[in-house]
Assembly symmetry: C2
Homo-oligomer: 387 residues x 2
């Protein structure tokens, strides 16, 4: 095991009806609230009205319309509102994009300069407003981690902003709020969770307990995503996906493993930075191609482990590469079975800008230091395989 430092101070309230706790819990942080949300799905499921009713007596300001792959502009707008109105706590109701944007708002509200300087780490984050979240999509794990991914469309940048001040103070996780998530978004969320775990699992040095926890999360998603898609109101399936999403991205699964470089995320961030596609879909497309590309004598052991313990592939007496390729094919076939588009063409991306993206990734993402290092040429080949 490698050395590590770990702390996830977020409090979780998980399960049916936990939103009823909101008034009492929120009041601990203040009465002046910025309520943030997305395109209106929380209105459709009645959650907007529910929250507004519960928070009768609070002074509520609203920032709505936060988009998928949230943009710097929304962060700046939210931070400005917080400063002008003296907001004491931000309440984010939505999926990972709303939560990520709100995390950056919490930090930018306590800083007098440019929000982008905080997001890019040019200046250190010293303070942030407390954030309370009500989650409506199982995918990014933002509800239980210290990260926010923010896009800056004019430069095609999509930056991962990591800071200890960004942990939500409280996250309310009621799986019922994901009943109306579409099959496509449920599948994309499942691919997102799985890839978070894969990024922690495919590395060296690794360790046994981390392996087992990563495999636990992968098997849980593999088992329950089809159930949630088949019966959107299957509480147990929605609950398993939701808690797997929370444990998938806050680091606890891979503690003691070396940082892998998160190569699929590095590549996907260019795809959704340039083309604004759904992050989980991009990850589903990239992951099996990345796996095929890096499979080698050096990486073989990880793939055999993955084949045996995640997919239940019999390995005894078989050629390691055959086993590894079978596991990669199973990964691909699983994403297909969830109904995910598995080529860039299907999501409207052609070959025109692959070279530009490969260059952008090679320059910005440090993948030459990844567990299985990638040059610009490697990255371009992986992107071409995704077409």
């Amino acid at each position: 095991m490698e050395n590590f430092e770990y702390c996830t101070p977020t409090r979780v309230l998980f399960g049916k009806g936990q939103v009823e706790e909101l008034p009492a819990r929120l009041a601990a942080y203040g009465k002046k609230v910025l309520l943030t949300y997305g395109g209106g799905s929380i209105r459709k499921i009645g959650l907007y009205d529910k929250v507004k009713k519960l928070l009768d007596g609070f002074e509520i300001y609203e920032l709505s319309g936060i988009e998928p792959n949230p943009k710097l502009q929304s962060v700046e707008e939210g931070a400005k509102m917080c400063k002008e109105k003296g907001v004491e706590v931000v309440l984010a109701v939505g999926g990972g994009s709303v939560l990520d944007c709100s995390k950056a708002i919490c930090a930018a509200a306590c800083y007098d300069g440019q929000a982008w300087d905080l997001i890019t780490g040019k200046v250190p984050t010293k303070k942030a407003l407390p954030l309370v979240t009500v989650l409506t999509l199982s995918a990014t794990g933002s509800e239980y981690d210290w990260g926010a991914v923010i896009s800056k469309p004019d430069t095609n940048d999509k930056v991962g902003y990591l800071d200890g001040h960004l942990f939500p103070a409280l996250s309310i996780l009621d799986p019922e709020y994901t009943y109306t998530v579409s099959a496509r978004q449920t599948a994309a969320g499942a691919a997102d969770i799985m890839n978070h775990v894969i990024e922690q699992y495919f590395t060296a040095p690794n360790n046994y307990l981390a392996d087992k926890i990563c495999e636990s999360l992968l098997k849980t998603v593999i088992r329950y995503a089809p159930k949630a898609i088949g019966d959107p109101n299957d509480y147990e399936a929605r609950a398993q996906l939701m808690w797997a999403s929370s444990l998938g991205c806050n680091g606890i699964a891979g503690l003691g493993n070396r940082y892998s470089g998160w190569p699929c995320h590095a590549i996907e961030h260019a795809l959704s930075g340039y083309y604004d596609i759904t992050h989980g879909v991009g990850l589903a497309i990239v992951t099996p191609r990345w796996m095929r590309h890096i499979l080698s004598e050096k990486t073989l052991e990880r793939f055999v482990n993955y084949a045996q313990n995640v997919w239940g592939i019999e390995v005894n007496g078989k050629d390691g590469f055959a086993v590894a390729n079978e596991a990669i094919e199973k990964t691909y076939a699983y994403f297909v079975s969830l109904g995910l588009p598995m080529t860039l063409k299907e999501v409207g991306i052609g070959s025109e800008r692959l070279g530009e993206m490969a260059h952008h990734i090679a320059v910005n993402e440090g993948l030459e230091n990844a567990w299985s290092p990638l040059t610009e040429k490697d990255i371009l080949q992986i992107l071409q395989e995704c077409l």
Copy 2:
């Protein structure tokens, strides 16, 4: 999945040499420190001198001689020192007993009445001094949880004190400090960790992800305890046991499962409350007898799951009870293989007070509401099986 609330705010510094961080981290809480430790093993391994040297410039008071199954008297003594000296932070260096005692000291130092009233929950805990720990034994998980078990010898009480104020602020976990732990104590620690997980696993309703995480922890301990006993300086083995101990008892393994009643702990607390035996040894003795006693049509599914996923027992085409009994025998044989005494006689306990203990447990532990309910008669039978 059942609803749950969860938060573990403790910061963990894990790995070789992390104690070097102590001065900088401790200073955040203050300069007046109560250093607590046990019988002197930290002197033998040089940790006492190391800590004293690192904390040059701090104002250090010492409470040494904290005993296994820590007693109320030590809590009172430590709390008195904190009050008299104006201690700002407690630094506990040792195993679970030192940590548990120190947690209670932190709370009692902020309360003007009787410490026992806090410990028994007669009065609510409203405040506690910050606690920093340096762990030297992988067993109880106290370094990463909110519990402290305190004994009151004059009444044979051994009480579990659970409160959110008891989480350590920071725990430094360097597996090297467990190199000198004896084979017997290593084995007892392994049994302790395993039983913490078993108490979360054998219940209903349970859930898939919790099952997988519990199985991960059990398999990790089963794999690495013999390695640590065989080669006390095996860093990886010591590290796996240490992190498994931390994840084993703070609740994260069984989230969404119903509380089982922790029956083996309830029974063992009487054994070590009456006879001051090593907690992990008591658990190793009780666990397989409790398993045999509660095995029934109603509980069978859990045992088959345990057999298949923890011990790798082939279940297809076999009688469920045969599979379950094989798993129980494997559990027993595993503890034997670690060199643990597996009868009460071997630890100096005869039949004289079994009835008295069974009554004490039945009256105080609420096991009539356990997952598999136990009457006083059941408890007595289990104790008799342990002879």
